[in-house]
Subunit: 143 residues, 2 copies
Amino acid sequence: MNQEIAKEYIALIPNLFESFSELNKGASELTHMQNHVIEYIYMQQKSLNLKEISSGLNVAKQQLTNIISELVSTGYLIKETDKKDKRAILISLSAKGTKTQEEKWKAIYQKFSENLSKLNEEDRRDLQFALHKVNLLLNKMED
Amino acid sequence: MNQEIAKEYIALIPNLFESFSELNKGASELTHMQNHVIEYIYMQQKSLNLKEISSGLNVAKQQLTNIISELVSTGYLIKETDKKDKRAILISLSAKGTKTQEEKWKAIYQKFSENLSKLNEEDRRDLQFALHKVNLLLNKMED
DNA sequence: TTTATTAGTAATAATATATTTACTAAAAGG
DNA sequence: CCTTTTAGTAAATATATTATTACTAATAAA
């Protein structure tokens, strides 16, 4: 059975690919890496130190020093020293940073909502249930 | 109802994020863009011309000229002129190109399969059904 | 059959990203 | 304490990506 499930999971990834790539289309004033960093922090929903961002995104910490200090000075990120570990610095989104992310997701949200009209009511009901179940179980798996 | 569905859809994206980013971790000998191009062609499951890749990836066609000719000379891609439109060139994966992609997906597949053991049998059955349904309906939506 | 579009190429310059090496200061471990 | 590890910074270099402009040749459209 596991094989069947894994196949369905794998099939899901390309299905979301388009929405995913669209996240960074809106060609803001930010570079790819800057976007990438902001997006990652937004998804993690908490403050992160440089090391966590580095390993989460697979980017050398030396690179992040510049990228993040740029994002701090342009007002997207906020730095504060970690009181539990004085070597570390916790990085989080500012209101401005959060807003840019919310707008990107909103665009995907709207496009998807429009496409939903191609399904009839029964299919939509099924889709809702199935999506809910998938999210629930994927979360359960990651714990 | 559409709002609820869209919310579940949006929630799904971060859920797949990790698997998604992992696709390009294996730090092959290829650059990001080269990987990106190969990945895109692999996902589309057919030959594409330069224009289609350009608009699909939101990358200027001028950039692709170099990227693709490099990938052709290193044996990942194959070029052939489109007989229906003599201006165009159809680009597809070589056996070597296909193999690299298959290996990346296989790694994701295996990791996911291992994680599945965290679910009990009933949950796994539910997950399989729900994933199948989601894929089915998302495909239906895109037609 | 002209004219306008479209697919792709080419070369250059401007930016961005990646890699390497070396450094400070706090923490962890003995 | 003393040593080693860890988080972050810094600067230089190499490589990759993006943007701009200009060009050829095939196709579409007037």
